[in-house]
Subunit: 153 residues, 2 copies
Amino acid sequence: MYRIGELASQCDIKADTLRFYEKHGLLAPSSRSESGYRLYTKEDAARLRFILRAKTVGFTLNEISELLSIELDKANWACADVKGMVDNKLEQVESKIIELTQFANSLQSLSNACCGGPDSAEHCSILEALESEDKQLNAKNEIAHKGHHHASK
Amino acid sequence: MYRIGELASQCDIKADTLRFYEKHGLLAPSSRSESGYRLYTKEDAARLRFILRAKTVGFTLNEISELLSIELDKANWACADVKGMVDNKLEQVESKIIELTQFANSLQSLSNACCGGPDSAEHCSILEALESEDKQLNAKNEIAHKGHHHASK
DNA sequence: CTTGACCTTAGATTAAACTCTAAGGTTTAT
DNA sequence: ATAAACCTTAGAGTTTAATCTAAGGTCAAG
């Protein structure tokens, strides 16, 4: 059982942020002490790490709470509904991975093009890298769109 | 050459957002028409797509402009500086990819655990998936930390 | 037995990233 | 030639996600 300050410092956030998440339905402590202190379990901590990870990869708190609501409502949902919702989110995550990978490729090719020496970087342009990335992107999209429809948003 | 509204609707954003990006040094049109209209080139559009992609994968506008400043200043930087900065960002991108992949694994295992039928989802818990994900995560970190130092932040 | 580091609440303030409003100039379509 | 649909600026308003403030209760160490 962690108290609010312990959990906060463990996860490198403020206690305020935990109270904020609680107020907005993302994470409530499993119990309270006699004196009313919030008491977080290991499971609460796992849930928090999930929230923080989701945030760093670009999900909004609303999207995250949508995801977590699957857990809260599980008794009231049919398994098929849950699966649908999860698969939907999974598609979003996978398209983010694709974008990030393209992003990484773009940076990698810039880094590769760069001599790394003491001379001016006149000929190391991120835009040059971007342009080649866009060409790659278009090529990949053509392949991707052959196989399956991508109905995000 | 695109005018502001054309580029905006092409990229599914508001013209306001383009003016905002200009004011904050992220993207200025390459030229103006006689009457003062912003005129964006294909390269400007590529830069915009880069910005938007970076945003969807969780970079802040500040981080993005730091990235793009490499391009603007390239004549004043040594190639080694550019390479260092790019490699630094690349590390951030790669750790985001790792986090997203873990995220995707977690969702995938939830989806797999789910019978997908009309029964209650009582036993399909995202937390169950998260817990196994955390175990995986710890195992992976141990492996990852053997090979190389990870100095993010 | 009190000082300092915790905890509580509710509500105000901040920062980032838009988004809109006002007041007006320009261009294209009929 | 005039209305609709653009464009301009400057600045105000909104949303999201915290972060801080005020006013006070609790606890462990000296």
